[in-house]
């Protein structure tokens, strides 16, 4: 969406004469409910989390100030490190598939030679998995992937793709992580695709036509025109996916049967924070973990921005 001209904003602010001051009080009045709710439910909780991260606090009862103890512990905690490693692996599988597919589809639907039809209906079908509650999707796949009675093994065996049922979720840790990555990609590639398409629609069609007339090949058009012009939206998709991905929780939590099994393979960072806070009742420590994770996300986003901008030269 285009950001409206600043001129109209300026006009909105400088309206002529009489009753201006008094009328502008309504602006405050209109924003008041939002501001109150924002202070209570958005701003205060973040500060409270920050405060708790310096406390020894169970989530109830007394809290004692412990300086940086929680942070020191967080940086040395092998479980947190493992959980973060798991998160990265699952997110890695997820993002490669998700962005790869979205990009491929964007190229297919924008090919000026083939002029593919049915964008509306395909887009809707690809987006469908996004809409279903994560709990339902997780439960559905858990049941479909059941190694003895699940439909997926039954289908694969009938088709002769495999001879033995694969133990998707309760065998090897790697397999389970792969499943989470793939299911995540299945859920979210439609969303990335729609955003990339929106980005492409912003590109002037005459670029493509001119390039075709000049005899540019498909690959040249893609790498020299589409990709560079898509960079901002790619960056947006990648960064939002990174922020979302490093906070991966619902899917592995529900697919694993809530303890991160097999082994601890499906334990993610937020999963660990959740367990620390609400099962082990170490609220203060969990708060410190949340801030450490936030720092890591910020660093990753910084790197992503750097990398994307470098390519421009």
């Amino acid at each position: 969406m285009a950001v409206p001209a600043t001129a109209s904003e300026r006009r909105a602010v400088k309206s002529p004469k009489g009753g201006l001051e008094r009328r502008n009080r309504y602006g405050i009045l209109f924003c008041l409910p939002f501001v109150l709710a924002f202070l209570v439910f958005n701003i205060y909780p973040v500060f409270r989390t920050f405060q708790m991260s310096f406390m020894n606090y169970k989530g109830f009862g007394k809290e004692t100030f412990v300086w940086f103890d929680n942070y020191v512990r967080a940086f040395k905690d092998p479980l947190f490190r493992d959980a973060f490693g798991n998160t990265l692996k699952m997110w890695g599988v997820n993002i490669v598939l998700q962005l790869g597919l979205a990009l491929l589809l964007t190229v297919i639907f924008n090919d000026i030679k083939y002029r593919m039809k049915g964008l509306g209906i395909f887009r809707a079908l690809f987006y469908l998995p996004n809409l279903i509650a994560c709990t339902s999707v997780a439960f559905l796949f858990k049941t479909l992937l059941d190694w003895r009675f699940g439909s997926i093994n039954q289908i694969l065996m009938t088709m002769g793709v495999i001879s033995q049922p694969i133990n998707w979720l309760t065998g090897e840790g790697m397999t389970a992580q792969l499943v989470v990555g793939v299911v995540g990609a299945w859920m979210w590639f439609g969303n990335s695709f729609i955003m990339l398409m929106a980005g492409v629609q912003g590109i002037d069609k005459s670029y493509f036509e001119a390039a075709t007339i000049d005899g540019a090949g498909r690959w040249q058009i893609f790498s020299k025109i589409t990709m560079p012009l898509l960079r901002p939206i790619m960056l947006y998709v990648a960064v939002t996916s990174l922020i979302g991905g490093l906070q991966l929780f619902d899917l592995p939590y529900l697919l694993s049967g809530t303890k991160g099994e097999p082994g601890r393979a499906l334990y993610t960072s937020v999963f660990y924070i959740y367990t620390t806070a609400f099962t082990n009742h170490q609220m203060g420590y969990a708060a410190a973990l949340a801030f450490v994770l936030f720092l890591i996300i910020a660093v990753f986003c910084g790197i992503a921005f750097k990398l994307m901008n470098q390519k421009e030269d």
Binding site: M1, P4, S8, V13, K14, S15, L20, N24, R25, G27, I28, F30, C31, P33, F34, V35, L36, A37, F38, F41, N42, Y44, P45, V46, F47, R48, T49, G59, I108, Y114, M116, F122, L125, F126, Y127, L128, I132, A133, T135, S136, F139, L140, T143, L144, S151, T158, W186, I194, M195, M197, A198, Q247, D250, V270, A277, A287, A290, L293, F294, I297
Partner: protein, 277 residues
């Protein structure tokens, strides 16, 4: 178009159709399996529905009050959608068309908090709710909707691009109150933008899992996703896979039906870049 291009085109369509099938098959299997008995499911798969829907429903309804969960979710989603729509529109209008001290501060804070990941506020939010004694009530699931930074941001941009300030002059000269102007003139103009955001808010609320799971303890008060997630604790249902599929289907099918009607709005909302919760 020569023969080679034609066959490439056919292949591309085949790929798209395969991918769509891949997206839809799990849901289809869900619907099919919801109508088959546990034994049938264990012995093999089928792509056609069976005849045991009523039987499965009996097992489900004896063990889980899904109707209640459905109503709980509906109630929460309607409240959240109404609050998000009304207060975000009001705030967006206030920020965009009035000049007052602090407007800049509010807008900047709102932009910053659009980027703060939710896990930073989760623990503090839970603690706040706990201190206020609101655990196991709906208030903490509803009231935060009054402040939805991303929606305010979207609607502010939207209203600035669709409504010239001059529209407000005539009713003001006629002596209409500012509230009346908002309700009679501004809201209708913003309606398409609000609708886009409202659908996103509804779906977000309907699918919300983590916060309700933390806050609601009483089983009867649980919204649908939390009920579905607690499913593994109900032995009679998990031992019968047909019933399991039926529970999942009941939670997913209403959204799928709604999507048939609203897919255009939903997709234009994402293209606008902010259905993300």
């Amino acid at each position: 178009m020569d023969a080679k291009s034609k066959s490439v085109k056919a292949l591309l369509y085949l790929f798209l159709i395969l991918l769509s099938t891949l997206c839809f098959t799990p849901f289809w299997l869900m619907i099919v399996n919801a109508t088959r008995t546990g034994n049938e499911i264990m012995t093999g798969f089928s792509l056609l529905p069976g005849g045991s829907l009523a039987e499965n429903w009996k097992i489900v309804s004896e063990n889980l009050n899904l109707g209640r969960g459905f109503l709980n979710s509906l109630f929460l989603a309607v409240c959240n959608t109404a609050l998000v729509s009304y207060f975000s529109a009001l705030t967006a209008y206030g920020l965009a068309y009035y000049k007052f001290k602090g407007a800049k501060v509010i807008f900047t804070a709102l932009l910053i908090f659009m980027m703060v990941p939710s896990q930073l506020s989760m623990l503090g939010f839970y603690d706040l709710v706990n201190q206020m004694g609101l655990i196991d009530t709906y208030w903490p699931l509803i009231l935060p909707s009054i402040a939805s930074p991303a929606t305010v941001f979207f609607l502010r941009q939207y209203i600035l691009s669709v409504m010239p300030k001059a529209i407000l002059e005539a009713p003001r000269i006629d002596g209409a109150s500012e509230f009346k102007i908002f309700h009679k003139i501004v809201l209708p103009i913003m309606a398409p933008g609000i609708a886009t955001m409202a659908i996103g808010a509804f779906i977000g609320s309907w699918n919300n899992y983590l916060i309700p799971m933390l806050i609601i303890n009483t089983p009867a008060k649980r919204p649908l996703p939390v009920m579905v997630a607690e499913l593994s604790a109900v032995r009679d249902i998990t031992t019968n896979m047909g019933a399991t599929y039926l529970v999942v289907a009941i939670s997913a099918v209403p959204i799928m039906i709604a999507f048939c009607f609203f897919s255009k709005y939903i997709i234009s909302g994402i293209s606008a870049g902010s259905v993300k919760e």
